[in-house]
């Protein structure tokens, strides 16, 4: 039977007490020619290729210092092991926030969020973690610590190593500390939701959002099967194919105006009775939209925004049991796949899914897959692109012995 992968091949796990000790652990592992698997909160252990080589788990859970919260500058510097929930709480006390959604914030650490390049529904207006990292400290594959960036909101000095490390899955260096730009908390939020008959209608509404004078923060398109567990809204009417959630944030006046305006716009597009989700229910909806739906495997597809609805329609035809949550404004599709026998899974991935994505000129990454499935790096990350040789050259210079997260990433 298929189970979700929850562990890495660890010989032992060490949890250094401070940043200097992290460097020591890496040096020791390098000297002993052991692989290192950096671990934050463990909420994304199944991300990337399942590594085959046993190694040392390097837990950053003890790196929990808040180094500096420059409240009036709207920046904060924390160690990598601080969880997203702890960070939110700290910031909320000052009416601030990091507007990047992370799955399982009670568990996910900021170091992990940076290493995996996390994002969520708010990316339509707020971007991803990439857009908030001003500086960081990290330890490379030889155990040498370095800093990148700084703590100002605009900085053009030298190469942007922060961007290089965001999303690099800890394969160039182990992130030990992060400086972030933060934002004021919005006063309130609300959603306008539409049930859609088909994906043509979905595209008409998405196209309408490109021309709206409202400023959505999230544009989420969910298929029928992805509606389960919605804490706020009941099931969709029988004949609808998908549901579109448009989230707004701002002052009460702004949000009210935007909801009203979009409702008018939708009426013209044939949505007679859109559902408004008021401020009181909105937080629960934001939270639900952020989380993954517990599918056996999750695939992320990036396609041009205008091709999103059509591709989702094709995907539903490919596998009627799939569940799709898309950050549709950005052309990001999160495809949840049901359990399959391992061989069937691989065949589906290679023979049907990837060709469909390629035909839509999209890119595809397998975010998580079951333990008993064997996938290659190319299955997971896609064929190497134009930048592969440069990526390899960078990797060789930051981690010449290839000990960091060996076998999990593109190299």
């Amino acid at each position: 039977m298929i189970t979700t992968r929850e562990s890495l091949p660890l010989i032992e796990t060490v949890a250094p007490a401070d940043q200097a000790a992290v460097a020591e652990v890496v040096r020791t592992a390098r000297d002993q020619e052991k692989a290192i698997y950096p671990i934050g909160g463990g909420s994304a252990l199944d991300y990337g290729v399942c590594p085959g080589v046993p190694g040392v788990g390097l837990s950053l859970k003890n790196l929990k210092r808040v180094v500096d919260h420059a409240v009036d500058d709207m920046t904060i510097t924390v160690e990598a092991g601080v969880t997203m929930a702890q960070l939110s709480e700290l910031l909320a006390a000052q009416r601030q926030r990091l507007p990047v959604d992370a799955v399982r914030p009670g568990q996910a650490t900021i170091g992990g969020v940076v290493a995996t390049g996390a994002f969520g529904p708010r990316r339509y207006a707020c971007g991803t973690i990439r857009d908030y990292v001003l500086g960081l400290r990290a330890v490379d594959g030889q155990g040498s610590a370095f800093s990148a960036g700084g703590r100002v909101v605009k900085n053009a000095a030298g190469y942007d190593l922060c961007r290089l490390l965001v999303g690099s899955l800890g394969t160039l260096a182990v992130i030990t500390q992060v400086t972030l730009m933060v934002r004021p908390q919005p006063e309130t939020s609300a959603f306008l939701v539409a049930d859609l008959l088909d994906f043509d209608q979905a595209e008409r509404l998405l196209d309408g959002l490109v021309r709206t004078k409202t400023l959505p923060v999230a544009v989420e398109l969910l298929t029928r099967r992805a509606q389960q567990g919605n804490p706020v809204l009941g099931p969709m009417v029988q004949q609808s194919a998908a549901r579109l959630f448009v989230g707004f944030e701002g002052t009460a006046g702004e949000v009210e105006w935007m909801v009203d305006r979009l409702r008018d716009q939708w009426r013209e597009l044939g949505i007679a009775a859109p559902i408004a989700v008021a401020a009181s229910d909105a937080p629960a909806l934001w939270q639900w939209l952020r989380e993954s739906d517990g599918s056996a495997a999750e695939v992320q597809i990036n396609v041009r925004p205008g091709a999103t609805a059509r591709l989702i329609e094709n995907l539903v035809e490919l596998d009627g049991a799939c569940s799709i949550r898309a950050h549709a404004g950005n052309g990001v599709i999160r495809l949840g796949l049901p359990p399959r026998e391992p061989e069937d899974f691989v065949m589906f991935l290679r023979g049907r899914l990837r060709p469909a994505v390629v035909a839509a000129r999209g890119k595809m990454v397998v975010r998580s897959y079951p333990d008993d499935v064997e996938l290659t790096a190319e299955d997971v990350w896609g064929p190497p692109g134009d930048g592969a040789a440069v990526m390899r050259a960078i990797k060789d210079r930051f981690d010449p012995d290839g000990i960091l997260n060996r076998g999990r990433f593109v190299f």
């Binding site: 420059a70 009036d72 500058d73 709207m74 390049g117 994002f119 971007g127 990439r130 857009d131 490379d140 370095f146 990148a148 700084g150 100002v152 909101v153 605009k154 900085n155 053009a156 000095a157 030298g158 190469y159 942007d160 190593l161 961007r163 290089l164 965001v166 999303g167 690099s168 934002r183 908390q185 196209d207 490109v210 021309r211 004078k213 400023l215 701002g250 002052t251 006046g253 702004e254 009210e256 105006w257 935007m258 990036n302 041009r304 925004p305 890119k363 990454v365 990350w381 692109g385 134009d386 930048g387 592969a388 440069v390 050259a393 960078i394 990797k395 210079r397 930051f398 990433f409 593109v410």
Partner: protein, 493 residues
């Protein structure tokens, strides 16, 4: 030659009529030039000293280096040919757009071939549905924005040089501008790049929002042409706001103005732009544009909020309150779109207007944490006095990004030296305040000496590895960004 404008026509004729006088023959027929002519046709290669002189500096005029040749490619394939030819002859390659760099980013240090990207100026595609435009590197920022007029979208980075500076140059320096306070800098708006690497290979990165692998786009943006030559960009388009409110607040002292900025940010209000101009700048602008600025004001803030009309009044009221509470003697609204446009023209032309105050000037670019703005401005004024250099100030104040402008007479070498020393000290002061030595101009040649003050050795080594990985021979735009010892090809781990 396929000339595109009257100016270029004249230029083409000049090249066509060029007499290859014997004195210049050696230069004209150097092996690399012969090779380049073969690749591009002789009309697209300049190599006579008299022609090369035009390219011996950019917007940073304190250093000059004459290139060995200047070439005008039409597409990425030609750029690739140029890079390969330069590699064959072991000659440096220096990409250049409009040449507006204020840090010497396109200076051909030690010679080399300057690659002019300005003829690669096609707007390939505007896709409003996908909120994206595809442009060649040589497209001027303003041209893209003019082409977008009426679509409801714009390209958000708006450096003051946008009338001339190219998208390729904006990408190379990670350009900012007044409205980056709300909308972010260039890197936040780049979805894909086509670039020529140091070995002459052409790569396409993106356009995809989430790279599978390392974010090479994020590194190339701000790479100052030292990692690759960007030939095309897929840029994100930003919706035009429904409306604006643009205020100018007049203060008796600079200190009152900078404290206002800090208070507004600390209160959690992030306007679209918050620009500071001091008394000297105001006078120069007033003389040039007759906007109606009070000449006795110590400082003026231009503050703009934008977005849905429903939220604008309240934000504006809050900002006016902060201004008045911090001693603003007058807060006026731009009454019409024309007045708003003129106000921004005044601000963005501030540097140009300074010609009225001084025969030459050079603009610094430093950045501090936002709350340290009052402190850094006080230091800047003190440093001006210490070095006997007249310094006037404009600033993207909301970002803590200061642009002290040093007024000098370039014919007086002592004055120039004093100004350089003052510039250096004020950047050191930015570092001391927890800031950085450039927010948007880049390091170029100008600030290279300060890199090891800002960064530790291991930090610079990490950057050097990235450069090596992209360009192992080190021939792309040498002498920029990293201090010389970090450019050694061998011996770096």
């Amino acid at each position: 030659m396929n000339c595109q404008s009257a100016t270029e026509n004249v230029f083409c004729e000049l090249i066509a009529d060029r007499q290859e006088d014997p004195i210049e023959l050696a230069m004209l027929h150097s092996p690399v030039v012969r090779d380049l002519r073969r690749c591009l046709g002789s009309r697209n290669v300049l190599s006579a000293p008299s022609e090369l002189e035009v390219y011996d500096c950019d917007g940073f005029t304190l250093q000059r280096h004459r290139p060995d040749a200047v070439v005008f490619p039409r597409d990425a394939a030609q750029v690739a040919q140029i890079v390969k030819a330069c590699q064959r002859h072991a000659v440096s390659v220096v990409p250049r757009g409009a040449g507006t760099s204020l840090a010497g980013g396109c200076l051909p240090v030690g010679g080399g071939v300057v690659v002019m990207l300005t003829r690669m100026n096609r707007i390939v595609e505007i896709q409003v549905r996908d909120r994206m435009a595809v442009v060649e590197a040589g497209v001027a920022n303003i041209r893209l924005n003019r082409a977008l007029a009426g679509t409801g979208y714009h390209f958000a980075p708006d450096p003051s040089s946008q009338g001339a500076s190219t998208i390729g140059g904006n990408v190379a320096t990670n350009a900012g501008g007044p409205h980056t306070l709300k909308y972010g800098v260039t890197v936040n708006h780049v979805l894909g790049l086509e670039a020529v690497l140091g070995d002459g290979s052409i790569v396409q990165l993106g356009p995809v929002e989430d790279p599978a692998g390392l974010d090479l786009i994020g590194v190339l943006v701000g790479g100052e042409g030292t990692l690759a030559i960007v030939t095309k960009a897929w840029v994100r388009l930003t919706p035009d706001p429904q409306d604006y409110r643009t205020l100018r607040a007049v203060f008796n002292t600079l200190d009152d103005a900078t404290r206002t900025v800090s208070r507004i940010i600390a209160a959690g209000i992030i306007p679209a732009a918050m620009e500071l101009m001091d008394q000297a700048i105001i006078s120069a602008i007033e003389e040039a544009f007759h906007f109606g600025f009070p000449l006795d004001a110590g400082a003026i803030l231009i503050i703009e909020v934008d977005g849905p009309v429903a939220g604008l009044e309240r934000q504006t009221e809050q900002i006016v309150e902060f201004c008045r509470g911090s001693g603003a003697r007058e807060v006026l609204h731009a009454a019409t779109p024309e007045e708003r446009a003129l106000l921004w023209k005044c601000r963005k032309s501030a540097a140009g207007a300074l010609g009225r105050l001084s025969p030459s000037y050079f603009t610094q670019d430093g950045v501090v944490p936002r709350t340290r703005l009052p402190e850094i401005i006080r230091h800047i004024l003190a440093i001006g006095k210490k070095y006997d250099v007249r310094i006037v100030n404009v600033a993207h104040a909301g970002d803590g990004n200061v642009h002290p402008v040093m007024l000098v007479d370039e014919r007086d070498p002592q004055q120039v030296e004093r100004a350089k020393a003052a510039g250096r000290e004020l950047l050191e002061e930015c570092i001391r305040c927890g800031g950085s030595i450039t927010a948007e101009h880049g390091i170029g040649v100008e600030k290279i000496e300060l890199m090891d003050r800002l960064f530790a050795e291991e930090d610079l080594r990490a950057m050097a590895r990235v450069r090596q990985a992209f360009d192992p021979t080190g021939r792309l735009n040498p002498g920029k960004v990293l201090p010389p010892m970090y450019n050694l090809v061998a011996g770096l781990k």
